[in-house]
Point group: C2
Chain length 189, copies 2
């Protein structure tokens, strides 16, 4: 059985939570869901067209705006509801370039490896800062039904990033401890 296309549901879901135009959806994903999702205009607009053809959404013929506005049909709502409540089947295998390089790292010096991990840690710290900013912007819109769930997704990112930062520190320690390559076989207990 072929996998379902997630882009469909991302768009249906955003439509249900107030995003009306393609441009706005892309913007919302880039700012609020960017820690676990991304999308391109090359996906958004064709998908809106498809969803309209399938009758899951309709173009809002409201007052002449510069944006194309859409709304969910009852079919669209049903489809979204069905998908949301369906269990997620399996963990995706997430390819990781850093780990791939690390796996082959005997082809480089330990210093280079350490440097790379340090750089990775810097990126992780940036990401933590970003989470902090997103959290504040969520907390400044209090009382929303969705806020609880948004904070949960954020917490996911924060915990994961924190754990990876700890991994960076531990790994560098390991590498620095065994830096003297030539003596490595001397006292392995």
């Amino acid at each position: 059985m072929p996998k379902e296309n997630m882009t469909r549901y991302a768009i249906l879901g955003l439509l249900a939570s107030g995003c009306t135009s393609g441009y706005e959806m892309k913007h919302t994903i880039d700012t609020s869901l960017n820690h676990f999702w991304k999308i391109s205009f090359g996906q958004v607009y064709p998908m809106l067209k498809t969803l309209a053809q399938e009758g899951l959404i309709v173009e809002e013929t409201g007052d002449g705006d510069d944006r194309k506005m859409f709304v969910l049909t009852s079919d669209g709502e049903a489809e979204l509801g069905r998908w949301v409540q369906e269990p997620t089947t399996e963990l995706p295998v997430q390819r990781n370039e850093l780990l791939l390089k690390l796996y082959f790292a005997r082809h480089e010096s330990k210093d280079t490896t350490i440097q790379k991990i340090n750089q990775h840690a810097a990126l992780l710290r940036e990401r933590l800062d970003m989470y902090q900013m997103i959290e504040q912007s969520i907390r400044s819109y209090p009382g929303t039904d969705e806020a609880v769930y948004w904070l949960l997704t954020l917490d996911y990112g924060k915990r994961k990033t924190q754990a990876l930062l700890e991994w960076c520190a531990a790994s560098i320690q390991t590498l620095e401890g065994g830096k003297d390559d030539e003596t490595r076989d001397r006292n392995t207990k």
Copy 2:
């Protein structure tokens, strides 16, 4: 600038660490790198062909085996070395279906959400067990140069998985705490 194709380097790297045939490479990835990489035969064989055409690898014309054996050329080794030591530029945005559903979870009951998180936790626990098995198989080949790096990639997965398990527990607590939807506005400090 277009992104580099990682499959190239995965194959070059495996070739450098003793995998000689396409079939073996796929098998190694599925068993030893499966916590951060995957690949299909539909990638392996065409890529081997391409790499041979580019002169980065050559077909080993050794004793007639049932497998097609390859070896790295000096160009191939250089290319691998160049890539490995190059810094990884940025963190990939990893799409996460569970979080996407969670983000839209007000369209379902809290119990369904909790159930989904529980199921996710079960998968994470399975994964931890798998890590344990991989670790043992690595430790049973001691003295390899690469073992240090392999254990580092494993540790990455273990720490991350552990953190996500903690997130599952915390999230369920949060959701169970605020389960009585109708009273939610009464005493938010």
